[in-house]
Symmetry: C2
Subunit: 419 residues, 2 copies
């Protein structure tokens, strides 16, 4: 075992030991830990901002883009928001111990399913230091230990933050090892973590498509895939166009850089002549570049022609691909072919078309007459979210505290044996 491997294994071991006790720690103790973490972030603000300044300076030297520098940057307001985030988690109900179901078998055995923590969660993520605090808080509330591996750009910020919150949590009665941070930036450290079966129960990568693909391809530990969203809005021939317009503007423009933003608009040919020129104009006013199919170009002559790549693209920007389709079936085929199974919406007043879209589209979230931007733990009412799963195992869509747990069967007998 080399030095990097030794560091990662040692941290994972400590997390695993902590997880055993965390699993049945009373909610009151976990909440006291969260509040202590929040207070410590504010009390040690200067230390965090100093560490962040070192990251920002290194980022400037490396020539990081303005967007990346902004994501990396902490100030008093942002640190206070991180602390408030932890206090908000205190208010959420503890998912651990809930008996999801219990039934009696003919032989008198009572069989139940109880919600329990996953154990040790490995988080591999990119630049934003607030993910460090969010993840640590949510994992702790759900009774999990967490091993954090942030991006190298934020190494000083993340080191300071985790030292501060882990110490505060420990002093408040949380087992040592509950929050571990890997302070080695070598790629090998992440690779070791991804293959630590027996120590890490689940890996949650958060970041760009490249990071997530690397984790999926490298990990032997089970992974919850998050992220990529090539989302569509389909304006049906029976759409109420007065609903379609605000939904489209919202889905594309309210926050274009996130995974639940719309990337392709599909419009039924029956409404295209009336609707496309108008909506294109509204989008143009908001700075949206349109890349259209040949039919779209007839109605929106100033649009660029769309390429095959555009139908596949997650632009994460003020760019929209637009295609005119001849039927609901053609829309469903397009979504099947190009979609990433994240969030898909139909705008229609037709009962049968709405039902077909709901049934036939295979995605984490399928909408009728609402913006795809609602795919979010907060918007769904979960109070918090650790990511949006785009895989089908375990969790699909926004993941809240419940998705950070598993279940175990509990069986009560009075001496039963199997015949």
């Amino acid at each position: 075992m080399n030095a990097i491997e030794a560091v990662v294994v040692e941290k994972a071991k400590r997390a695993k030991e902590a997880a055993r006790r965390l699993a049945y720690l009373p909610t009151t103790v976990k909440d006291a830990g969260l509040l202590a973490m929040a207070d410590a972030l504010e009390a040690q603000m200067a230390e965090i901002l100093a560490a962040n300044a070192r990251d920002l300076e290194a980022g400037r030297l490396k020539g990081l883009s303005g967007a990346l520098m902004d994501r990396l940057m902490l100030n008093e307001k942002r640190v206070k928001e991180m602390a408030q985030g932890l206090r908000d988690v205190v208010k959420l109900p503890d998912p651990v111990g809930e008996v999801v179901a219990m039934w009696r078998r003919p032989n008198g055995l009572e069989v139940g399913q109880m919600r329990v923590p996953l154990g040790v969660i490995g988080m591999i993520y990119e630049a934003r230091p607030n993910v460090t605090v969010d993840a640590a808080g949510l994992c702790l509330k759900a009774g999990n230990a967490v091993v954090l591996r942030g991006g190298s750009e934020a190494i000083n910020s993340n080191s300071a933050i985790t030292r501060i919150i882990a110490t505060a949590a420990y002093r408040a009665g949380i087992p040592e090892g509950a929050i571990e941070f890997i302070d080695r930036t070598e790629r090998e450290a992440a690779q070791v973590l991804m293959r630590l079966n027996g120590y890490i129960d689940v890996l949650i990568p958060r970041g760009g498509a490249g990071l997530i693909q690397t984790v999926v391809k490298t990990a032997t530990v089970p992974v919850i895939e998050t992220g990529v969203g090539n989302c569509h809005v389909y304006v049906d021939e029976f759409a109420d166009l007065s609903k379609a317009e605000p939904i489209i503007i919202n889905a594309k423009c309210q926050r274009p850089g996130v995974c639940n933003a719309m990337e392709t608009l599909l419009v039924h040919e029956a409404v295209a002549p009336a609707f496309l020129p108008a909506i294109a104009q509204r989008l143009k006013e908001r700075g949206v570049e349109i890349r259209g199919c040949p039919t779209t170009l007839k109605f929106v002559p100033w649009a660029k022609p769309a390429t095959e790549d555009d139908w596949h693209a997650e632009f994460l920007d003020l760019i929209l691909a637009v295609r005119v389709v001849r039927s609901l079936d053609e829309a469903l085929d397009h979504i099947y072919r190009y979609g990433t199974k994240h969030s898909e919406a139909i705008v229609t007043e037709n009962y049968t078309n709405a039902r077909r879209f709901l049934k036939e589209v295979d995605a984490a979230a399928v909408y009728v007459n609402a913006s795809t931007r609602f795919t979010d733990g907060g918007q769904f009412g979960f109070g918090a979210e650790i990511g949006i799963s785009t895989q089908k195992l375990h969790a699909r869509g926004p993941m809240g505290l419940k998705e950070l747990t598993t279940v175990k069967y509990i069986i009560f007998g009075e001496g039963q044996v199997r015949e």
Copy 2:
């Protein structure tokens, strides 16, 4: 792409196409398919037995063990049981389409979770040809396509069976490609399957520890790990020994070769003098070899001394490791250290000890006063099972039809947009 890869990809593609239609196929059509498959197995019995005879002949030449030959062997009775298994699946409720929960948000959006199929399931399994039929039936009922990859010993039997059931299903209205069988026995075929992200949604390996470890280490497709069980029964100082005896005999002897059989018995020192000699005698009468800790050897002088390996062992045989412990804590530590998180039982009349065992033991199934042998889909009331998950993601413990599904969020709006 070489020839083997081409074969596997082609089959997975067909399965993926079938899965799209299977996802919303009416239950009546799926049930008609299952009944047609059952009828075809019986009608084409001669063809199946002839294919099986070729596998048995090859097995004899290869020198397969008696146990393996028995698992491989089909006869009229076994084929009829396979057909009956399919008819039993018809009687189970269809899990697809169930709305698990639905709630209204303050903005009027209605958010629900609907059960939907996983998509394409890859099954990699060993000798027994009945797994072919079981898996195909359960996957179909839950709306999934399945790509089957059985062991090379059963290649002729599995080829004949899948050809017969897939044809029967297709004639009954099931989409072509719903049941695909990989008839290449090269190791590479399995490896290609394990890495077909984008085609295969979930892999379920069934077989020995070696197979499962290979899949976990090789796969990039999400895996549901099944299987290994180093299960314990702990006889507490407050045990009702008249309950302990039948539970222990049952857990060890009723079917020693399965994953939910007991492998290690833990006995509190306070009851060891009275209990150990008696239970050891009963076990000996049933042919059980005992490997004990030094204290056990005092009470059972004829037992063999246990080695460190014995505490780790999944014997799957009439062998039992026995350890005397000084406390519940010592029992919990032993289980934490050596257990495989499958099935663990305490025998006690003490309320607090029972509660501590239930809370503190991390396993798929935790029992009070009942045999570990109940960890089984049929025994839990699921009607059927596709395996027993020993991982924490998605499914834990016996997996029935419900575990072969995922959920999607369905959202009903009237034009809502995000603020």
